[in-house]
């Protein structure tokens, strides 16, 4: 029954990772910055705030937060964290994760359109645009990784006993996808609410109170799901032997490393124009293709 | 029957009597086919074998339909003072002479007599083409009679050479049977030349491109029941003549010579008709060009040869006769109703004259070879023959042209048939006789494909035997 613990664990630490990233950014920017537990405070605050709902909205707007939350939690269930076999290995595989996340995104985009404000529409449009362009890169990197394992079964994949060049490249490709999906720089900027630049934030602009809390939480979880995948691809737990302690250690190191990288990227690059983002994703696609080629070559 | 008009005065009764007469002819002849064991020949001048019987049957069908249709048509013309009563009577006289001469063609056994009969059809129908004495119709008639006579001269030339070739091997007669029997020994070159002349000569009459030029004019200007006769059966009589000579030729120089010629002419005709159909404006001219197309198809079938090809060709002759006459009658009604022939102006026929419209629509789909109508089957058979003989290029071209023509006709007629009718126009009622014609033809059109009548199948099969010269 450690499994539930795992999933609960990442659901709990998910906001923390965001906090850490923010902390790292602030430190890099020579600021004091907020504590790493700030996201929790935000969530709690939002959770007890009164909710303001636009009167144009329909039930779509209402159920979206729950669906989004559910989808990311299901994704979290699919991801192996420190034990090889994920809880939900009978439910599906690596490919399913992409589709599950797509479900949440679909409803978020609808909700963005629901209120009838042009920000929401703009946000949904851009979100769908970027995510649809991110799909090929994601699927290629998944394929590359899975080709090394001979299956798309996550448990088997992360049970690999050797680490291949193609997997690493695929990991980087997935990293870029993750940046796009978790609306980080240089694709999107979580910090600003400047109308013309925001993407994810614009989409959820109409949400407030508890619904917003759910959506925030969902995006934290989504982020950690991606990070866990990448961490498991780049530093598979098994390098350190099957021991559970070592696994946890490896996992935490991985997550921290990735967070650091993300934080560093966020402060060091400027946000791209929407149509430059296409090139960014195209690059991830090319990386994924390269990964496939290499893994077909057998490296 | 030619005397009939001199007795009866009123166009209507005249027409009815006429139609009844042709009905008797049709039914009598069908009975004759059923009963008599072909071939039969009486006093060595008339000779009816299966092939002839088949053609006579076709002619009988179409003439009957035309006669039935004429009743209403002529009466309305006479009522509308387009033509005087005498003119109406003249019409029936000519009609009868015309159909008599057409009936004569397959009946006589002497090839020169065949030639004369065909020349007679030209001479009699010329007046029917120029019936309305308008400038256009007279022009059409002149072109028709001149071009056909020129063609027919060559046909006679060919006949003479045939006769010479036959007499060289000691058969001093133009009797078809003797010539066939003598076929083997004749001088090959001579026969070849003769057949070329025959093909060009009768081909002119049959409307093979590039000798087809008279056809669209004549068909479009002729009085409508006659247009049906012209493209329904007149062309077929010429085909019959060519067929007769082709049999002799094949006996003498082998199948390939004639089949090559047939295929070439057929493809040219298909191509020409396709081009002209696509850019056509006038309904009856379009139908005329489609007749050229179908004659091409028939010759393609004869050219592809083999049992299947010949079957397809003969079957196609009947189908085309039926369908095309239906189309011409429909066009006649439409043109009478809308007072114009330009397909860019006529709209919404289905809503303005439901019965004719629906019949015309179905006829159109039959004409462009859609199942379950009969033409689909014959065209398919011919295609089968083509592929069966491995003539891929010819068959491919055939398919290509068929598709082009399909597109062209659909493009023109779908606009004419559907769409909005002119506001001032109210839905029309057709006369009983007209309805009868349409129903009669439509039944033939629909039934022939699905369920071939046994006796027809029988005579077609045995005429194939004749064509293949066994």
């Amino acid at each position: 029954m450690t499994i539930h613990v795992e999933t609960l664990f990442i659901i709990i630490i998910a906001p923390l990772v965001s906090g850490i990233i923010t902390k790292i950014k602030n430190n890099l920017r020579m600021r004091k910055g907020q504590g790493i537990f700030q996201p929790y405070h935000n969530l709690i605050k939002l959770f007890y705030k009164e909710e303001v709902v636009s009167e144009n909205t329909s039930w779509i707007f209402r159920i979206t937060p729950f669906i989004v939350l559910a989808s990311v939690i299901l994704a979290a269930l699919l991801v192996p964290i420190f034990t090889i076999m994920p809880y939900a290995r009978h439910i599906g595989d690596f490919i399913l994760i992409i589709f599950i996340l797509a479900l949440g995104r679909f409803f978020l985009a609808l909700a963005g359109l629901d209120a009838g404000s042009s920000f929401g529409g703009m946000g949904s449009s851009r979100e769908m645009f970027l995510s649809s362009l991110a799909e090929p890169g994601a699927i290629l990197s998944i394929f590359a990784v899975s080709l090394n394992a001979g299956t798309t079964n996550l448990g088997v994949i992360f049970g690999l006993h050797d680490i291949k060049l193609s997997s690493i490249i695929a990991g980087f490709s997935l990293m870029m996808v993750a940046i796009a999906e978790t609306s980080r720089m240089p694709i999107d900027n979580q910090e600003t609410h400047l109308e013309l630049t925001m993407i994810h934030e614009a989409m959820v602009l109409e949400y407030s109170g508890r619904s917003l809390a759910f959506i925030e939480l969902a995006s934290h979880i989504k982020q950690i799901v991606f990070f866990s995948l990448i961490a498991n691809i780049l530093f598979p737990a098994v390098i350190l032997g099957g021991n559970i302690i070592f696994n946890i250690a490896a996992y935490i190191i991985g997550i921290l490393g990735i967070s650091a990288a993300v934080g560093f990227i966020e402060v060091s690059v400027a946000k791209m124009r929407l149509f430059r983002a296409v090139d960014f994703l195209a690059f991830s696609f090319v990386l994924g293709l390269a990964a496939i080629v290499i893994s077909v070559m057998g490296a | 029957m030619a005397i009939l008009p001199s007795i009866v005065k009123r166009p209507k009764t005249l027409g009815i009597l006429n139609a009844v007469g042709y009905f008797l002819v049709l039914s009598g002849f069908s009975w004759f086919i059923l009963k008599a064991d072909l071939p039969v020949s009486f006093f060595k001048f008339f000779y009816i074998d299966a092939l002839a019987a088949f053609f006579i049957f076709t002619i009988a069908v179409v003439t009957f339909a035309a006669a039935l249709f004429s009743i209403d048509y002529i009466e309305r013309d006479a009522a509308g003072l387009l033509i005087s009563r005498n003119k109406a009577r003249a019409y029936y006289t000519l009609f009868n002479l015309f159909s008599l001469s057409m009936f004569l063609v397959p009946m006589v056994t002497n090839l020169a007599m065949v030639w004369i009969a065909i020349e007679m059809t030209t001479l009699t129908s010329a007046f029917l083409v120029g019936f309305y004495n308008t400038k256009a119709s007279i022009e059409a008639a002149w072109k028709y009679i001149i071009i056909c006579s020129v063609g027919i001269i060559f046909a006679l030339f060919g006949t003479i050479i045939f006769y010479y070739a036959a007499s060289n091997v000691g058969v001093k007669s133009l009797n078809w049977l003797n010539m066939v029997s003598a076929g083997k020994g004749m001088d090959k070159n001579l026969i070849k030349i003769a057949f070329l002349f025959i093909l060009v000569g009768y081909g002119t009459k049959a409307g093979l491109a590039p000798m087809h030029t008279w056809l669209p004019d004549a068909h479009s200007q002729a009085i409508s029941p006659i247009s049906a006769l012209l493209s329904g059966v007149l062309l077929k009589t010429a085909v019959y003549a060519i067929l007769r000579f082709a049999i002799i030729t094949n006996k003498c120089v082998g199948i390939n010579f004639s089949s090559k010629l047939f295929i070439i002419f057929a493809l040219v005709s298909l191509g020409v008709s396709a081009g002209f159909i696509i850019i056509q404006k006038h309904m009856k001219r379009l139908l005329a060009y489609s007749s050229i197309e179908h004659v091409g198809v028939i010759f393609l079938g004869l050219g592809f040869g083999g049992a299947i090809g010949a079957y397809g060709a003969l079957f196609h002759i009947l189908n085309h006769a039926v369908t095309k006459s239906l189309m011409f009658f429909g066009a006649a009604n439409i043109i009478k109703k809308y007072k114009k022939d330009n397909m860019n102006i006529i709209r919404g026929v289905v809503s303005s004259m439901p019965f004719t419209g629906i019949m015309f629509t179905l006829g159109m789909f039959a004409l462009i070879g859609m199942p379950p109508f009969s033409i689909f089957f014959s065209e398919f058979l011919i295609l089968m023959a083509g592929f069966g003989r491995g003539l891929y290029l010819a068959s491919g071209l055939y398919l290509f042209f068929i598709v082009l023509i399909f597109g062209g006709i659909l493009y023109h007629f779908s606009k004419v048939l559907f769409g909005d009718k002119p506001d001032d126009m109210k839905a029309a009622k057709e006369g009983l006789s007209v309805k009868m014609v349409f129903v009669f033809l439509f039944i033939l059109m629909a039934v022939l494909g699905l369920a071939m009548p046994a006796f027809l199948n029988k005579i077609i099969i045995s005429s194939i035997a004749i064509i293949e010269g066994v």
């Binding site: 669906i67 559910a70 992409i98 479900l103 609808l110 042009s118 090929p136 001979g150 | 071009i147 850019i279």
Partner: protein, 610 residues
């Protein structure tokens, strides 16, 4: 020869036919029920009877097409199907537009039929019979180059019917013009008869002969996917949008089929069966949810009287059930778990994965990877497109006055729609069972015996053990999602909230014209794919005076690439030749006679050539 005309009307009820019959009857049942309410007020009684007559004929002909066992009768049924559907397309035959659409449709499909006929007749030459099984036996002896030609002919012929790019142009014309229940049948079922033809005549009868067949099909399929979905994104006429999505989904189906053709050539039987299953599964899924979407579109069209989604909005409040149904359809077609579209796309992706794992040559492996990428991109774009469609039609504020008095559809229409919604769920959640059934169909049509294979068949999950060690269980997905949603909702859902108008940056009142438009929504895609769409715009200033501009009119268009660079040149060439030929017949009798003269001379000169 004598017995040519009494070909016996004989049937071949193998699993493949039965599968297609099921698809046909499922969708046609819904559409027929739907049409009761749909036609009710709009048309006269005569028109309605006419509709029923045509509908019956249509269904029967389709059923014949997929169940006869004789190529000639198949051809007849095929043509009759086209003819009847033509009459259905021009059902509102008063509009020039629908006449034009019907014409394009019939001409295109006739071109296809010509190809099919040619293919059949070449096969007949070897078999001397039109019976399927006889053909099948004869095709074994056929020389490979002939086989290739037949393959190309059949692919072209059936490709027209199923709307493979670049033969797809008739779809966006014909589907919108037909009445909606007909569009749902045409797009849901009729274009599938093309797929049936491909499976029956290329896989079953002809037998895959070389790798490039499969690869060609895959390439065409990939192109169809992308082109279809991109055009759909640019389209704002709801029914045209759906029609383009049919092109896309046909592409997805063919991805599965082509993959299986490649495997057949490698004779990796289990994989061949598996990927064919994927294709068939997507086929039935598409039939169901596309039928559903078209019916919903029809209800919307009935309620609002137009098809332009820019003029809609807020309908979810007026017609909740239709909105719900449309949402389900949209989720299914954008492959969102746990609905059926997801299952088949997942299967297809698995097929590609295994292909790129075990394909013989490296190049092929990478090619399969690319196919997967294309499929993924297509899925993403489809999702975007349906966010646009659903959002613009049902959400936010009405964009035109017409919407205000829109009402929910009639009872029969609702029943039909909900029936299809049920099927969508059933196909999604019953994936295990469907997989089992389809395995039988696929094995029959590939002639591979799956008895030996370990397909780990299970009612609750797909475990293609023969292919790889993974499993997918849609019921569990649904269960978990449901539990979490309901749990969270009951546990934490209730919260004090108040209604207030949307935040409008202090702008005094938010109006529909402030809303985001469909054009705006698809702008990023238009820019991203401009290399293919070749968009251009027209800005029109209506000036009050030299200095004062009353209003702007901004229109944007995309160039119809295929029409412009393939079809117009062809038609132009034909017309040009025809116009040129016009010179042959200028009415001069002398010229006419000289034709005869020249003919004679030429014939005499070349006599010995004949």
């Amino acid at each position: 020869m004598e017995n040519f005309f009494n070909i016996k009307l004989s049937f071949l009820f193998d699993p493949l036919s039965i599968f297609f019959l099921f698809v046909i009857f499922a969708v046609c049942l819904a559409s027929a029920v739907y049409s009761i309410g749909y036609l009710n007020k709009k048309y006269s009684n005569g028109k309605i009877i006419y509709n029923w007559f045509l509908l019956a004929a249509f269904i029967v002909s389709m059923a014949l097409v997929v169940s006869v066992r004789n190529a000639f009768i198949f051809l007849i049924a095929w043509e009759i199907m086209s003819l009847v559907s033509y009459f259905l397309v021009i059902f509102d035959s008063r509009e020039e537009k629908s006449i034009h659409a019907g014409m394009i449709y019939l001409i295109m499909t006739h071109v296809g039929t010509a190809f099919i006929t040619a293919g059949f007749l070449i096969m007949y030459k070897y078999a001397n019979s039109f019976d399927f099984l006889a053909l099948k036996n004869a095709c074994v002896l056929m020389p490979p180059n002939v086989k290739n030609i037949v393959f190309l002919f059949l692919l072209a012929g059936f490709g027209v019917k199923s709307g493979i790019v670049p033969l797809h142009i008739w779809l966006p014309y014909a589907h919108p013009q037909a009445p909606s229940h007909i569009s749902s049948i045409m797009s849901g079922v009729m274009i599938k008869t093309g797929i049936y033809g491909i499976i029956r005549f290329i896989i079953f009868i002809l037998g895959v002969d070389s790798i490039w067949w499969g690869v060609l099909v895959l390439i065409l399929a990939g192109i169809s996917c992308l082109v279809g979905v991109i055009y759909a994104l640019m389209e704002h006429d709801i029914k045209k949008l759906l029609a383009y999505h049919s092109v896309e989904n046909i592409g997805i189906i063919l991805l599965g089929v082509g993959c299986s053709m490649v495997f057949l050539e490698f004779n990796m039987s289990s994989l061949a069966v598996f990927s064919l299953i994927a294709g068939l599964y997507h086929l039935i899924n598409h039939a169901v949810f596309k039928g559903l979407l078209f019916l919903c579109a029809g209800s919307v069209y009935n309620a609002t009287g137009n098809r332009d989604i820019e003029k809609m909005g807020g309908l979810i409040k007026k017609m909740p059930i239709t909105a719900f149904a449309f949402l389900i359809g949209a989720m299914a077609i954008s492959a969102l778990p746990p609905l059926n579209g997801f299952v088949s796309e997942w299967l297809t992706l698995q097929a590609f994965f295994v292909a790129s794992l075990t394909g013989y040559m490296a190049g092929l492996k990478i090619f399969f990877g690319l196919c997967a990428a294309i499929l993924a991109l297509t899925g993403g774009l489809a999702a975007a497109c349906f966010v646009k469609a659903f959002g613009m039609i049902f959400l936010a504020m009405p964009r035109s006055g017409k919407i205000e008095d829109a009402t929910e559809a009639a009872l029969s229409m609702k029943i039909a729609i909900l029936f299809l919604v049920f099927l969508t769920f059933a196909l999604g959640l019953g994936a295990g069972i469907m997989f089992k059934l389809l395995a039988v169909v696929a094995s029959c049509s590939t002639g591979i015996n799956i008895g030996a294979m370990n397909f780990g068949l299970n009612n609750f999950m797909i475990m293609p053990g023969a292919v790889s060690s993974i499993s997918l269980s849609t019921p569990l997905i649904a269960l978990i999602l449901g539990v979490i949603i309901i749990g969270v909702y009951l546990g934490l859902g209730n919260n004090k909230s108040r209604k207030y108008s949307t935040w409008d940056c202090g702008y005094y009142k938010l109006e529909p014209r402030n809303e985001y438009t469909a054009t705006g929504f698809s702008k990023p895609f238009r820019v991203a794919f401009n290399f293919f769409l070749l968009p251009y715009r027209k800005v029109e200033k209506i000036r009050g005076s030299l200095y004062y501009i009353k209003s702007f009119k901004y229109e944007t268009f995309t160039t119809p690439v295929f029409k412009k660079y393939i079809y117009y040149p062809l038609i132009g060439a034909v017309l040009h030749t025809a116009k040129f030929m016009r010179g042959l017949q200028l009415g001069s009798i002398h010229v006419y006679i000289s034709y005869i003269f020249i003919t004679i001379l030429v014939l005499i000169i070349f006599m010995n050539r004949f």
